[in-house]
């Protein structure tokens, strides 16, 4: 699976997973074990120790030219320097790839600093770039969160689309009593699902195919935060079950993300998908998202009872930024637990896919699954909240043609010089450093 020469031949698109930094490398290692054939995984880090633990992916130590073989210590500028010094080699790796997933944990050094640059390299190499980013828990400190926000913004400006999973969401879903390793596992699982869902959709042969071109058409040049929701429906009414789980999924933001989507790629897979099931799924989704462009695919390869449903939600920049700033309404956590109740550590299964992991342990919960989420309606948003969303959207992307011209990215937040206030006590108001120019914090571009 990890030999790049083997899989250029087929008609399948070439997909590369690139993990950056410690979190990214960990995620890619997991993904490399369970990804479908035709996905090449690379681990890139400035820390040689983290790479020495990699067995499933091709490793590349960044920044050999400038000595930082033991990591960057949270210095994103150093990481950026490191990745820039290796840009020729990286371009070589990225050559001839159709789709690149840039997987990184934001908030540290390497992931935050190198991901935007790498995404840009991939973009120049002609690939469709999808960022996959995890942002830290709130309790990891304001500094780290700010750095993460900066990194995410930079990545978003370069990548066609970014799947973003805030680790803090796990706490919101599962409660603060969850053990840390479980919380991280759940966060990892959501990000893995996103990548796997898309890879499967593109690689599995289908009866109604969702092709690479479909994905390209719906995400290219959007520079927005999108999400991928991958769920499995089971039982007699597996289609309804799957739809309900979609709405409960944290990435769907209680159906809100669907409502603001500009296009949706829906892929069903499972044994003997009936017309009625297809109808039920598409009707429910288009009900929540009447204006989005809907592409439906069905692949029959998935065996067994379960109906696997993958939805790629692409925004036209509408929710971009808004879902970080306004706390989205969370669905009832009691309903969530059955959906996210996996607790098995990630192991390589002998048969079946990664997504079958924990299915048995989950089965009993699933039968008792009765929670019906309230249909998200326009009333769910208060007028102020909606105004906020619109205002944020207007600020975020005034118009796309203008956006596309801006190739020069903004420097990450940490590098913004505070000039006169460099050495004084910072003025922090609700986590915002007011010493930094307002127009930079608000992301206004002077042009």
């Amino acid at each position: 699976m990890s030999n790049p020469d083997e899989q250029t031949e087929g008609a399948n698109p070439t997909i590369r997973l690139i993990g950056l930094g410690e979190t990214g490398v960990k995620l890619v290692e997991i993904l490399a074990m369970i990804a479908p054939d035709g996905v090449v995984a690379h681990s890139l880090d400035t820390d040689s120790r983290s790479l020495s633990r990699c067995h499933q992916s091709q490793t590349f130590l960044l920044g050999q030219a400038i000595p930082c073989g033991l990591g960057t210590g949270g210095d994103s500028a150093l990481a950026r320097g490191a990745v820039e010094s290796d840009s020729d080699e990286l371009t070589e790796i990225l050559r001839g790839t159709d789709l690149v997933f840039v997987v990184a944990g934001m908030g540290g050094g390497t992931g935050t600093g190198a991901a935007p640059f790498l995404a840009n390299l991939a973009k120049q190499a002609g690939a469709l770039v999808v960022g996959v980013a995890a942002t830290p828990f709130d309790c990891e400190g304001i500094q780290r969160c700010n750095q993460a926000t900066g990194g995410l913004r930079d990545l978003k400006q370069v990548a066609d689309m970014v799947f973003h999973f805030p680790n803090q969401d796990v706490v919101l879903m599962e409660g603060a009593d969850i053990a840390l390793h479980q919380a991280l596992e759940i966060a990892n699982r959501h990000l893995c699902e996103a990548v796997l869902g898309v890879s499967r959709m593109l690689l599995e042969p289908g009866m109604l195919n969702v092709s690479f071109a479909d994905l390209q058409a719906s995400v290219q040049g959007r520079h927005s935060l999108g999400s991928v929701v991958h769920v499995e429906g089971s039982g007699e009414d597996r289609a309804d079950d799957a739809v309900q789980k979609i709405l409960l999924h944290p990435a769907a933001r209680g159906g809100e993300a669907l409502k603001y989507a500009s296009s949706l790629l829906v892929n069903l897979s499972g044994g003997d998908v009936t017309m009625a099931e297809m109808d039920a799924v598409t009707a429910a989704i288009s009900n929540h998202s009447p204006s989005a462009k809907l592409v439906v695919g069905v692949s029959g390869q998935g065996s067994g009872e379960a109906l696997k449903l993958t939805v790629v939600i692409a925004h036209a920049g509408k929710l971009a930024g808004a879902d970080q700033e306004s706390a989205p309404p969370k669905p009832d956590p009691t309903g969530q637990t059955s959906d996210l109740g996996y607790s098995d550590p990630f192991t390589v299964p002998d048969t079946g896919s990664y997504l079958d992991l924990g299915k048995e342990s989950d089965g009993k919960n699933r039968n008792g699954f009765t929670y019906t989420p309230p249909a998200p309606t326009a009333d769910a948003l208060t007028p102020e909240c909606r105004e906020d969303l619109i205002r944020v959207a207007a600020k975020e992307e005034p118009n796309r043609t203008k956006r596309r011209k801006i190739i020069q990215e903004l420097l990450p937040l940490e590098i913004v010089s505070k000039g006169r206030f460099e050495k004084s006590e910072p003025t922090i108001h609700k986590g915002e450093d007011l010493d930094q120019p307002t127009y930079i914090r608000r992301g206004t571009v002077l042009n």
Binding site: K418, G419, F421, T427, L434, P437, T438, L446
Partner: protein, 405 residues
Amino acid sequence: MSDSQIIVGLEIGTSKVCVAVGEVGENQVVNIIGLGQAKSRGVRKGEIIDVALAEEDVRNAIVEAEQVADVEIRSVFLGVTGSHIRGFNNTGVHPVVSADREITSADIQDVIKNAKAINLPTDHSVVHVIRQHFRVDGQDGVLNPEGMLGAKIEVDVHVVSGRYNRLQNPIRLVNGLHLEVDNISSSALASSLAILGMEQKELGTLVIDLGAGVTEYAVYSAGVIKHTGVLTVGGDHVSNDLAYGLKVPLARAEQIKIDHGSAVIDPEAQDRKVDLSDDSLIPGRQINLGHMQKIMSMRLQETLELIAKDIGRAGLIEYLRAGVILCGGGARIPHITRLARDVFKLPVAVGRASTVSGVKNALDEPEFATPVGLIKFGAFQAKSSPRRGGIGRVIRRQVAALFGR
């Protein structure tokens, strides 16, 4: 001749050190007789960062004021500010125990004492405790309950506190110049004293002092102070933003701000360019006025919005029937009143120190509100507790004589 007639206000600001000398006449009429100022170099965000420089600047300002007013300055009322200053409201309760339930002055002293018993962190100390209103058995808005009948008497106070060590820094600096500090006052309170008349306090007014290092605000309603706040964002931040955004040196940004600044974006200036004909820069450098106004207006708007949010949270925005009054150097920014009007949705005016008489230019300039207010503060102090102030002063002078001179 006693020097109690002369009251001096000293503000060690971020952009300038300002000294105002006032004469208090027979019936508490304050007359400004002299002003001294010096560019401040040792202060950032309202607090001293370089003692030696700040000391030199204060000395210069004092000397200038002494020459203008033709007096010898021995003691000053000092304005304090900084991010550590907090304002909050507290309530004191006291049961009336006398048999006839008549409230005596002793009861009033007690209830105020109770209100002053505040749980502050150990490194904080109280700057002001300002009486708001009394409540007698739940009857609200009593101004002076002495002689009334009641079982329970409550008093609301507004407390301003700050970190002890950081409050001491400017005091020590002034003492180092062989000057005494009569009292300290938060600059927000001083500015509002200078600007507001009785009627405005009664109707409800928000005073915003847009300084270079800090922006301070105070809300008056029903004749008493209801809320104070400090935001360590000021004109320096505007200059810094401009320096960063337009890529010019800070001093140059400051000059651009003064020459071409505007609080609102003028659609006609969007594409206009201004030449930077400075010899030290690359010849032919131009800056875009539109960008400049955008950077500036975003910063100012944000600052005002933060204040509006804070006042809104305190539930006071409805009480501001006399509107918003701006003072400090920031009040000179063109169109700042228009911006503030849009943010607060209230009438906005630039404040003048209307409650005192004297040197004309001291009263017309919004940036002198704090030192002038400090003189008023001093006049109030002298009036309300002449004896205590007198004794304290004597003692202080003796102590100073022992150690200082």
